[in-house]
Chain length 662, copies 2
């Protein structure tokens, strides 16, 4: 369609937008984002109290657009919509890997499409100081490898975000996470320098010295400069993961603590936090920080960002502070969208939420991690609920660069966005995935690279514009979960290219999900095992057929060396699956010992290679156990038998070796 550039007369307009007031010049926490939308056979009318509501409504109009063989249309609807939480954010870490303007801008476009309203920029950390300081130019000159935002760029970015109803909250992490500050300003450090930009990943000791006035004078100047650039009332000062090690080894700091009756590093950090809060106040800003900042002297108006579990959020609210939830929304953990979607800042039932979330913990972590049912003290009390402002998903940047960032944020971010906008009762995971697939395609129109980046990497790895079987493999693997990528490849650092199979793999394989869906269909269809069988057979045959070419592709490139065992593993899975299917379909009991051999083959195929794991392991285990348990199928109700298969398949997951106690 070619749309006219000229607005129509209101009486003739097919889409009429009515806004009562322009609203705030800049997006503001808690402003009215509501709108109503009425679409009938001839007109659409969007009404909002202020322009930001109209923006949100227009995104809904775009989402409603549908086509069939007769043409495009908007379905007739009458809806009244408003966000559940006023703080719906995405943190992007631009320190560990630099993200230039266009990357942030396209992600802001994506955020606007799913009605998010806060971009949290993690601007400084050990690995890079990403903002120009005109007062202290050595900060960005020596701490950034030349990769930082100028003042003009920041203003442009803030305006770009504001045009989309999105606030920008800057974070300057302190007193830890400051190696990059200290390269140019070692005089601020807790022990003498020199310091260099940190290239590795982890938690490091360099820390500001909270005992010297010079440090506060410096921060006064720096935060004042930043306060003039960032218009949002909140400024995030980090406050997380301070090891305290350098405080302990410096006698001057120890003696300061003694004379000021500061019992330990926590007390010293509180002292530091109080001083910084006063500086922020001086510059007209309120404090925001990670949950470590929560203490009795925290000033009112502060926002606490909780990240280690639900307890800190409940505690924050109980103490009368406002807080947001980031625990459960760490996109760098490479978890399925369903898990993030399940986590709710104010769950109807916290215990049930934990149980539900556990359903979505990847099988490879079954024995290693469970969400615990929270203690009573970890549940936000009803009277504190209004202090829970919302949440923020976190995109930490150890393993993302401008090329792969989008594929780690999108489309999973859309599921978190819905959790923070829509009513608590909207929890249908299957329907969420259906809608996520749709919006994923729409998000591409905004320039997001999440679909494209994987194919690009695969073409490069295969050295061919048609990666063929390598693409089939890549769609069936996922990066290892939580922090296992670091554990399994300790050499990784800032300069390590993110151009491997693990980078081409998506955090969540939707192909594996679809495969599992077919297995579910099949196993629910006792005793015929007919439903889904064709699809499963086709898929398993494909895995088997591509093997020779896949093996050749993996063989050819040194960059694919680490992934070579996956070629054989996929073949083993295909053959094992076809055997199980044949037992099930023919109604034959497997031969003696087959179950154990099959499970062992699957265990071997489940080993991560090159920090990816095949994401179809658990449905294969279910197929094997179904074949083994087939004789009992006629004796049990279908659902009961299927549940038993699933339970045994979980029990078949090998336990990791116990760690030796010291």
């Amino acid at each position: 369609m070619t749309l006219s550039r000229e607005p129509a007369e209101p009486a003739k307009a097919t889409l009429l937008v009515e806004v009562k007031a322009p609203g705030n010049p800049l997006p503001t926490l808690g402003e009215d984002e509501s709108y109503t939308l009425e679409i009938d056979g001839t007109h659409a009318t969007l009404r909002a109290a202020q322009s930001v509501g109209a923006l949100r409504g227009l995104e809904t109009v775009l989402q409603l657009l549908q086509g069939d063989r007769d043409g495009w249309y908007l379905p007739a609807v009458t809806l009244s919509d408003r966000p559940r939480f006023p703080w719906r954010g995405l943190l992007i870490d631009v320190s560990r890997h630099w993200m230039p303007m266009e990357v942030l801008e396209r992600n802001l476009d994506g955020m606007a499409a799913v009605k998010l309203n806060v971009l949290h920029l993690h601007l400084t950390d050990d690995q890079g100081f990403r903002v120009e300081s005109r007062r202290f130019p050595r900060l960005h000159e020596q701490g950034s490898d030349g990769l930082y935002f100028t003042h003009e760029q920041l203003r442009e970015l803030i305006a770009y975000a504001a045009d989309r109803g999105i606030r920008v909250v800057p974070e300057f992490d302190m007193p830890g996470h400051v190696s990059s500050w200290l390269v140019g300003h070692p005089e601020l450090a807790s022990i003498p320098g020199p310091y260099t930009i940190e290239r590795k990943w982890g938690i490091f000791d360099p820390t500001l010295d909270p005992t010297r006035e010079q440090v506060y004078q410096f921060l006064d100047g720096f935060l004042g400069e930043m306060a003039a650039i960032f218009p949002d009332p909140w400024m995030h000062i980090g406050g997380d993961e301070n090891t305290g090690n350098y405080w302990r080894v410096n006698p001057a700091i120890q003696s300061f603590m003694a004379s000021n009756r500061l019992a330990d590093s926590h007390a010293l950090q509180t002292y530091f936090g109080d001083r910084v809060a006063k500086l922020l106040q001086k510059h007209g800003k309120k404090m925001m920080g990670w949950e470590e900042i929560l203490h009795s002297t925290l000033p009112k108006g502060a926002v606490v960002q909780t990240w280690r579990g639900p307890k800190a959020l409940a505690e924050t609210a109980r103490q009368g502070h406002t807080g947001i939830l980031s625990w459960g929304y760490y996109l760098d953990h490479m978890l399925p969208a369903a898990l993030h979607y399940t986590v709710d800042p104010l769950p109807a039932d916290a215990k049930r939420m934990a149980e539900e979330a556990n359903r979505w913990v990847p099988a490879s972590w079954y024995h290693r991690f469970r969400f615990k049912p929270p203690e009573a003290s970890a549940v936000v009390r009803e009277q504190d609920a209004a202090r829970v402002l919302g949440g923020e998903a976190c995109m930490w940047a150890e393993y993302v660069d401008p090329e792969t960032l989008d594929s780690r944020i999108w489309p999973r971010m859309a599921a978190v966005a819905e959790r923070l906008w829509s009513p608590r009762e909207v929890t249908d995971v299957k329907d969420m995935y259906r809608r996520m697939a749709r919006i994923s395609v729409q998000l591409e129109e905004l320039g997001l690279m999440h679909e494209r980046s994987g194919d690009l990497l695969l073409r490069r790895l295969a050295g061919s514009s048609e990666p063929g079987p390598l693409r089939v493999l890549a769609r069936l693997v996922e990066p290892v979960k939580f922090y296992d990528r670091q554990v399994q490849f300790k050499e990784a650092m800032q300069g390590t290219p993110l151009t491997r199979l693990v980078d081409a793999a998506r955090p969540e394989s939707l192909e594996a999900r679809a495969f599992w869906g077919s297995v579910d269909d099949l196993l629910a269809d006792t005793p015929r095992f007919d439903r889904g069988a064709d699809q499963l057979t086709r898929t398993l045959h494909q895995w088997r057929e591509i093997h020779p070419e896949l093996a050749r592709t993996l063989e050819r490139s040194p960059a694919l060396h680490e992934a070579r065992p996956l070629g054989g593993a996929l073949l083993v899975l295909a053959e094992t699956g076809l055997e199980a299917l044949s037992y099930l379909r023919s109604g034959t009991a497997p031969r003696q010992g087959w179950r154990e051999q099959a499970l062992q083959r699957i265990d071997e195929a489940s080993r991560p290679q090159g920090q990816v794991e095949l994401a179809v392991i658990q449905p294969l285990r279910e197929l094997v156990l179904a074949a083994a348990l087939q004789p009992e199928a006629p004796t049990l109700p279908a659902a009961e038998w299927h549940a038993r298969v699933k339970t045994e398949a979980l029990a078949a997951i090998p336990k990791p070796p116990e760690k030796k106690k010291k």
Copy 2:
């Protein structure tokens, strides 16, 4: 590989770069771009006279990088390399469709990779004035829809290009192609305004009035302002496609012509050109223009850009002027890379070059266009050869936007770049395609979108992240050639979305090329018809098998409405091809009438739909004629029989209906 950030000591370096002198601060026409490269078992040494040569050599090093199962390596080579032509350019039209900074920057990266050294920016035209003028701000304010480059952006772009050894030559097209100028400055026009930005495509009448001093005063100011921004010695003032219509209807202009003894519009344009050349000279610039500027008073040092045929280039050089070739390098014509690769600014044999180029004219144009063997006057004389500076490929922007631009430039541009850099004798088309496929993948690493953009459009059209059969179809079609897109869809204008199947299709289908290769293999393998048969059968079966799903996909989306007949057409081709194959493989003569029916079915399938055409029509005709001519195969030498099949397949292309004579 993680490369070290620290330079090694020269004695230990694995790659040593030796540059004798830094060279010019800005890239300069004719500067020394040569380099030598020696790679042995342990070291690589790159030597250049100046840094731009080292840049060119480093691109070669990157191209040489190879991998096998044992790791990465550079092959041992000793080479001495230098460009054949000093002017190797790409024109990007940013007027008809706006291209923002990042689009140009990533294309500059691509240009550097293939050793191009001129970016020609077509900055103004009827459809948009794309450069900020501080002297005459109404130019960009009223002529650009807000889409223009600021002075700062232009300086950034020029610096970005210079870092890559690329000159930026700006074009301000005049006295025609100026609608966008006249919106804010109607007083410059040949007839009274008001004027609006032109939204349609074509050649239009708005023209500067060359008879008024006010116009020259204006141009003096404007060109002076631009001369201060663009450092290159040449400034392109267009000069093409002036209809002269508005000159003819203005009595004041006619009377000026009479009193100045200017016989016709050409004479008046020459007068205008002479005046503009003097202004350029005043501002320290030399003139460049399209071939229409060639006339006896053209100042020395001017560069003539020839675009309508080889004759103007020969004439330019004969008259003592320097020129470059753009005829044969129009990327918007959607022609195969082989055709552009065949066109040489200084061919060894012009007649042969025309014959060779005709081999690559698409079959759908077989009866409509042939390159003519040039007359003697159209051949550059040996003594004039040094005045042929090189060439420029032209990317006119009627049908490209920031999303699709790259896929129209790349990878075909690499073939033109090689023609302009490498020795005239390097003409192996098959090997060119082999290398083009390789470099296409490498170009993606630089951020170019040529591979990605088609898939993005297909996902959007299919409304699914796996477009499946639609992708198979899209890879087998090509946009219609030359200006047929406009002829077949006259409603197209600036605001028309470029998001259709024709935009997802590549200018040249490499899949169709591969298919034709298999047909060639098969038909060369008389009388067994064995070679390539498996591949062909697989491909034809695939076309047949995807039909039901393809038909459903085409049915579902209104945006695919226009492409619906292609679903059936592909099925017909598959069935016809399989029939032919079966006759050939079984050694059976086709039944009576089959040949005619089959050819008729193919003719029907060859009809463009939605401005795309199936690119496998001609190999299918060859299969049909091979089946029909099979009885004669044993009686003729294989090559002769194969040639006969090809000749008859060409003869089978239906002639377009004759136009009625008026």
